[in-house]
Assembly symmetry: D3
Homo-oligomer: 242 residues x 6
């Protein structure tokens, strides 16, 4: 049951959460979940190539444009709670201060599920740092001895990894397919907001269709047209199989 | 929801289904599932060591004893539908005839879930053959062009792999933990039936406790005391995470 | 230089060579290569699902339709040398006789390159058998002591593996991307011939586009629009890097 | 021959060396080895959950309790040489200064064997840092150009990795089983000292029994009742097989 | 202690046991072990390339030459107990009859150690079949229910895998290095016997030197000049580390 | 075609580029490539063991000797463009400043190919840091938003990994073999310059011969006598197979 579930999404750059989990976020929101998105950077340096082709471009303008695009996309997905940390990207440095900030978010928001980058992206060092950062902080959050402004320790929440761009080269293995058929149009609309990465709009549209095919074949459920896939950090634990 | 689910278990020898999935079977039965167990052999040659220490022992007597033990264990788990194919073990030969027999069972029983041996058991060649046999037959069952007595083709059912005896050496990775706390006593009672493998009763009792610890830590659910773990042949496909 | 190269393609079923290497074949033919295709079966049982939905369908009719489709597709790709062995599929049995037949083909055609199924397809046992069969025969072909009608032993030719349908679950890792932009229309036309597998036409059209994106990103060559990917059985050996 | 061997154990927290190698340490001491244990932290933040449930708890009190428990456990195992570095845990920072400190210990103690955490613990970032730290320092210690207070460079000592808590998820593969049957009671007694981690006492008691079963099966030696397992960082090098 | 140990070596072709374990065999014999070698084939078809270049060559002559070479090499290594099964190679078929024959050898010779081909040789299908064959038979041998001419079941002996020719492509990982410095000259002399595979004499001479370098670096034992490496099928089980 | 290609080699220590890619460099230079070598350190601490055995040795003298050896080796290989950064080794620290320095080199030299250390060297932490450093910087270099003194962003160049010393333990898999037969004498001469690492001269001479054997077997090209092997960071992308 999605209703009442709390989903935290940690995105290295301004658009990662849209390409890789926009459908799942919209679907969770549509069915009654609370969703919070943290964008560590807006990808000024590493994910705004087309914007830098304009003469006289500055980091400030790029940041403004990218933030605007991301806010618009978030709105289209139904996200009301999104925060931008404005960290530098390429390279991204995640220290003690960032760790405490994320820890407070985890302990106050108390997510059932965290979505973030998977272990390895062969073409993006920032994604790997974010994976390590989120994983470490999530583990620390479970420990009562790690004190943070009086927030209580959490229990182990579920962690899932985004699909990286070139999956096989990055050793990505899908552990979960989420059916996003009922919100697919929203995802497409949200992706259209990112004009600095036009080639990815086509890419992730095709991707959703391929993952839909995979999900259909594996489940035998012919109604799935579009899907997103995620790596499972942990095994499923339940009173029944899924 | 377990109620109404159909679970098929294919076991290489007389006791495999009990050691490795006895709790899950009892739990599924308790909550309203239909369960069918197929024992390909009773393990006369490969899994009855202690019985062969008795002077004058014969294959017939061993088979009779092992079948009796397995029937008793099945009854304790609540299993009403179990069949013994009586194949030779060590080595086990699974040919076209066995494949058609299993195909008919899959197509007539129409399981939602099949449990059987995982891909690799570093200490048991029979287990590996059974894995290959069940996987191939399950795939074939989905194809309309494979004709079997007029039974309709299936859709892809879920497949899960038993935990082998020495997991890390066999490359086993748990994909699902099933909480068996509510039927643990039944599993222990069923295991007690196999007097030719006493060392395994202690082993799988400890195992259930360790897996319970693992499941508790990963899920944060303190009520789990005992669990069984399984490999996922396929990713989870659903409208939500599990 | 493609001109003069000899390319042998071994396909488990009637359409595999088209979905997985149709662009590469057309591209090689266009640039002067000799291509020979061997279809071990036409996939009557395992890959003709939609045809079996027609009342009164028979294996003979399905075989006829599938062979016709495959011949038409081959013609559209420019293939003049294709042979159909008509083996049963699902399951496919490849014995000594088939091995000698393939050996004679390898030794008489003397390919520089063999394309066939990769090591593991998690959803298709036939594909795995064909991989093993082709790999073993190719190794045997290099040995002078293996006598076949007076044909001389070969030297080690290059072997590449087709992309399976669900790549990450099958452990597929791309070793080579072939740019098929200049023959893409031919591949699409050829795929349209297989009306029993309509869902795959959309799938492999999207796939070519995704692989084009991957190839572009890795090579920095913006002219690549469509690509096919293959596993490398062996490292590249040359006087320079590629 | 254990007699005269020098064994260095590097433990991230106060109890790791007991859960994971307490039996091996006691056994080595019993048979004449020199053993030195370094506890980098006492696990105030990350491994003292139950202690933090007491109202008014402070880091100082937790540290005192944990150090006391660890000293008591060490004494029960027969360890006379143990040092507590008192580093912070969760997260643990291991810099140049710590590296020089460990280097001096390695070069002055001159261990034949170092035991420490294995490469990957999916539930404990500190363990991973300690692995990297010990491995790097051990490699550096072999190099004459790395100068430390006049101590001579070492030759390559043996390195073994502790079993992490959830072995399969962490990719742990046992390379060595050490038979701890003759000191099992000591290990159990030592484990009882850690009252903040009661759930682990049961866990590692069961574990020793399972590993005993594994060791027995693999070696054919029926006298092994309890064992500990370790990952081999390096292959065995000798004039005979083991 | 090597003295009194019983070592069984199962070799796919006439020279495999020499290239891959000739030094270890000579070393074991020199120090008092019992060694038995089984050559399943003499490699008439797959490993006698140069002999087939002679006009008028026949399988009979090749078999005679290869058997003679192997007997001479065995003598130089000090082997007195070697048997040639004369199976066909390329491909090699190992059925029930061969399994019973090996089973009788294992149960009568009662080896402490079996050396044979490792799991995967990317360039030699016969080697893979022999691995599977020996591993299965060794497991079966431990089971009392598998009856063979009244021979008693064995306990689990140690199993080690030969280094294949292209190790990294075959996924070979050294688990044990055996120092063969004291018998190196014998190994070189034995290798010289195989005139149909001259390129391998140079290859395995270099190999012994590289493995010596590896073993020296890992052990810190400067006296090791030449070594052979093997994969460990099972972890080391003992009362101490090695 | 090598002519006109631009090859950048990044070496952790003074001799790494010679042992691991000296033949490839000489071959590329001979055939008209531009080559630039960056030596991050000269390996004063970690790779000059024999020099430190001389009484009264100092870091300055070692650095001078090692730099001299490396310059001489470079000259013998035909390298005219080599720079020594003089960083400390064992451990090596690579921060933001070093990253910008390398970035400027990549963007001004604009290599088609970068050679550096592979992902994992089980016996050398510096090598691993250099891998990570070069990979991250190469990725960053492709991004227009990462500004460096007005140099234009690059397109993705090819990246290849050096063979580490103990390949199988380090998980190295050869992706490319480069035939160095025509420059082998030059490589041997260059290796002779490094008198502090005499044992490696023999080692890498044998290695070139083994890799030549491997390359010959895989390619069927009997003219290859010596080769170097490299890991492919990325798949081959081209209009044909290699």
């Amino acid at each position: 049951m999605i209703e009442g579930k709390r989903l935290l999404v940690v995105s290295a750059h301004a658009a990662d959460y849209v390409w890789r989990s926009g459908g799942t976020i919209a679907h969770y929101l549509k069915h009654g979940a609370q969703v919070k998105v943290v964008c560590l950077s807006v990808g000024v340096r590493g994910e705004s190539n087309d914007l830098w082709k304009q003469p006289g471009q500055t980091a400030e303008k790029v940041a403004e444009i990218r933030t605007g695009e991301s806010e618009k996309a978030a709105a289209l997905l139904g996200i009301q709670d999104i925060e931008f940390w404005g960290l530098q990207d390429y390279p991204m440095t995640l220290g003690m201060q960032e760790q405490e900030r994320l820890l407070r978010i985890i302990r106050s928001f108390r997510p059932d599920i965290i979505l973030t980058h998977d272990r390895n992206d062969v073409l993006n060092p920032d994604h790997n740092h974010v994976h390590e950062f989120v994983w470490q902080t999530a583990i620390m959050s479970n420990s009562s001895g790690v004190e943070t402004d009086g927030f209580k320790a959490t229990k182990q929440m579920r962690l899932y990894g985004f699909e990286p761009h070139q999956t096989e080269l990055s050793g990505f293995v899908p552990g979960s397919f989420i059916d996003i058929t009922d919100v697919y149009e929203q995802k497409v609309a949200a992706m259209q907001c990112f004009q600095a990465q036009k080639h990815l709009i086509k890419y992730y549209t095709d991707r959703a269709s391929l993952r839909g095919n995979h999900a259909r074949r594996i489940s035998g459920d012919a109604s799935i047209e579009y899907a997103e896939s995620f790596a499972n950090f942990f095994p499923v634990v339940d009173t029944e199989f899924h």
